[in-house]
């Protein structure tokens, strides 16, 4: 256990029960504090035992489990996601996106645990052939857009360094990157550009979403530059449930299945979500029980639609704890995209022992057609909207018009500015990756576009291979 005790936690870190933890309807309550030793001779009538191990006493809001079994159950879910979907393999170099919240903290903890085990196995093996995956940690410093005091930020970063250094061996490299670095290497210039860009977006939700997309750009940049091949996010069931409702409300229904699967390989560095089956409440609880430090001071208040949905879901979850899972289960019925699977490995590595060779994937990746992705949020765009795009491209003048047409309807409505002057300014401030993505697809990839819309073209003269 992270706090160094084998059995029940000392009275230092576990706060008294009902300390802001919502009592779900299925818990068995206990009135004792943690300092009571749980030997059978001292069993009071109020004490209930964990239904799994039947030895330790139950902790509130864990669904009838003791602290150890609770942690084990979450770890088991994590491990199951990883093995079933092959999220992390021995030759990988994974980057963990750490935001400071409970989910990232848990994912960091759990990934470290499996890395440690793999390292032990590798050290203990005779031939020392088993590779162990590498782990790095990325933290995006968004202090230029949030109103955090500089000393709070410094303390938080210091805590972060401590956390990462304590999770060794194996050592993990920590990358602390300010978000404005995707605009320019000069941080002051980048900061001005970032703030100006956000100012051109009038919609509060649009601003927040744009910042989210920029954050992903930044993470992808770090992963690419430091040669990581997977990006691990701590997104949990609750966050995904919020996303499902927000996406439904923002008209992003077509692209919704892309964001909620275990694997999202439309990015340069594929994104994996190993904690997808855990609830935020469980992860919060785990951090409390195991004294896992989180950087709460970095919590930026959300606004607009995202905030409303988040609050709404919290209220619903209080009334019915199964609600978040139901929402995610509903959304799972949507058919995922082809990039929600990992590419097939070309040749299984012969030097790896048999059990490490990856299972062959069902379908070779290359034969599947690619989706047209929005230049801002990277969400797949429906074929109908692509056809509108081709119409708009006929004789269009400004760079912005081309760019605007390459965005999904939701980004067009929510993020792109409405008046002409703001539009040009917006386009000029965008970081390179977003604008090049648009022009790559449009100018460089005319043939692909033509292929998509050839059914609608009337005079289809020469070939369009």
């Amino acid at each position: 256990m992270a706090c160094g005790t084998t059995g029940t936690c000392g009275s230092g870190c576990y706060k008294d029960s009902n300390d802001g933890i919502e009592d779900s309807t299925i818990t068995i309550t206990t009135t004792n504090t943690m300092s009571t030793p749980s030997s059978t001779t001292l069993l009071s009538q109020h004490m209930k035992l964990c239904y799994k191990c039947k030895e330790e006493e139950v902790i509130n809001s864990t669904g009838g489990l003791c602290g150890i079994c609770f942690r084990n159950s979450l770890f088991a879910k994590f491990k199951q996601s990883i093995t079933t979907h092959d999220l992390i393999s021995p030759t990988d170099n994974v980057l963990i996106a750490f935001s400071g919240g409970p989910s990232s903290r848990v994912v960091l903890e759990f990934v470290h645990e499996i890395q440690q085990k793999a390292q032990k196995n590798s050290d203990a093996s005779r031939d020392k052939l088993y590779p162990v995956f590498g782990v790095g940690v990325a933290f995006i410093d968004e202090s230029v857009v949030t109103s955090i005091a500089s000393h709070d930020l410094d303390n938080a970063i210091q805590d972060l360094r401590l956390i990462v250094s304590s999770l060794a061996p194996p050592t993990k490299e920590l990358h602390i990157v300010p978000i404005q670095s995707i605009f320019s290497t000069d941080l002051k210039d980048g900061r001005n550009k970032l703030n100006e860009l956000l100012d051109t977006v009038s919609d509060a939700t649009g601003k927040e979403d744009l910042l989210c997309h920029l954050r992903m750009q930044c993470l992808q940049k770090i992963a690419f530059e430091n040669k990581y091949n997977k990006l691990v996010l701590g997104s949990c069931t609750s966050r995904i449930a919020c996303h499902v409702l927000s996406a439904a409300v923002k008209g992003q229904g077509y692209s919704l299945p892309a964001d909620i699967q275990y694997i999202d390989a439309r990015w340069e560095t594929p994104v994996v979500l190993p904690l997808r089956d855990c609830l935020a409440q469980e992860l919060n609880m785990l951090c409390r029980l195991n004294c896992l430090k989180t950087l709460d001071v970095l919590d930026a208040p959300r606004s607009g639609i995202n905030d409303l949905v988040s609050k709404f879901l919290t209220t619903l979850q209080e009334e019915n704890p199964a609600r978040e899972r139901t929402i995610v289960r509903t959304a799972e019925k949507l058919i995922p995209f082809h990039f929600n699977r990992l590419k097939e490995m070309k040749d299984p590595d012969e030097t790896l022992p048999r059990r490490h060779r990856r299972k062959a994937n069902l379908q070779p990746y290359e034969s599947v057609p690619s989706e047209f992705l929005c230049s801002i949020c990277c969400s797949p765009v429906k074929k109908l909207d692509v056809e509108c795009l081709s119409n708009k491209l006929e004789g269009c003048e400004t760079n912005f018009t081309i760019f605007g047409a390459s965005c999904c309807p939701s980004c067009q409505f929510q993020i792109l500015p409405k008046d002409l002057s703001s539009r040009e300014q917006f386009y000029s401030l965008l970081p390179r990756p977003m604008t090049t993505r648009a022009s790559d697809f449009i100018s460089g990839d005319q043939t692909w576009l033509r292929e998509q819309i050839k059914d609608c073209l009337l005079s289809d003269s020469e070939d369009g291979i």
């Binding site: 409702l245 439904a248 929402i327 289960r329 509903t330 959304a331 019925k333 409505f413 002409l420």
Partner: protein, 233 residues
């Protein structure tokens, strides 16, 4: 989702952005355009007309029952449909169909409104009551089962009552006043409940085509706010 066209307004002027010679009287909830009263009526009605035409909701000569509760949606629907029927020669036979659930202090008032509509718009009215159809009023049901699940009973009964009324009137379709806000609520509700089957069906503008009486929702794309403004402006 509407793309705001970004009409350039002259600084300081508040002229209607459609006809540009009358003064703008209101801001349209759907597009945030500033327009005058007459233009609002026109766009409102023309958009409904477009929905009817694009989705082929009606055929000439059909008998259509309008589910009339006496509320704002069905009253406006009755008015607009009869107006468009006349203006664009849909050739429809329109009827008002109202259901009396037997809720004292609620339905009695709205039934008066529907009777007024019958006179004002010249549409024949048929009222069916739960008492006649099923032998129970909602008040009696609530006395039996309380206030927790009574909405389910009422909804189920009403749906069947509408079907029966439609059959009695020998109509081809039933039109209800469900607006965009209602559909949005239904989508979210079905996501929350995990009702995949309903989720797939609930946004269709015509439902029950394989059943006895198809139902359509001409107000599917109309904002509730606009339905409220329309009669008041």
């Amino acid at each position: 989702m509407e793309d705001i066209e970004g009409k350039q307004k002259k600084p300081g002027s508040r002229l209607c952005s459609i006809c540009t010679h009358k003064k703008a009287a209101l801001k349209r909830p759907k597009t945030l355009e500033q327009i005058c009263r007459e233009c609002f009526f026109e766009v409102f009605e023309e958009e409904i007309h477009k929905v009817v035409v694009d989705n082929q909701l009606f055929k000439s000569g059909e008998r259509i029952a309008i589910g009339a509760s006496g509320g704002k949606d069905s009253t406006v629907l009755a008015y607009v449909l009869s107006e468009l029927n006349r203006r664009h020669n849909y050739g429809l036979d329109l009827f008002l169909l109202s259901i009396d659930e037997g809720i004292t202090g609620y339905r009695d008032d709205s039934l008066e409104t529907v009777k007024r509509n019958e006179i004002e718009y010249g549409l024949p009215l048929k009222v069916l009551s739960y008492k006649d159809l099923y032998g129970w009023t909602m008040d009696e049901i609530v006395k039996m089962i309380g206030l927790k699940n009574n909405c389910t009973f009422c909804g189920v009964f009403r749906r069947q009552a509408l079907d029966r009324g439609a059959a009695l009137l020998k109509v081809d379709k039933v039109a209800t006043g469900h607006n965009a806000d209602d559909i949005a609520e239904t989508v979210l509700l079905n996501i929350l409940r995990g009702d995949i089957a309903r989720l797939g069906r609930c946004t269709s503008i015509i439902t029950g085509e394989d059943g006895p009486i198809p139902r359509c929702k001409p107000f599917k794309y109309t904002y509730e706010k606009e339905i409220v403004i329309y009669p008041l402006s």
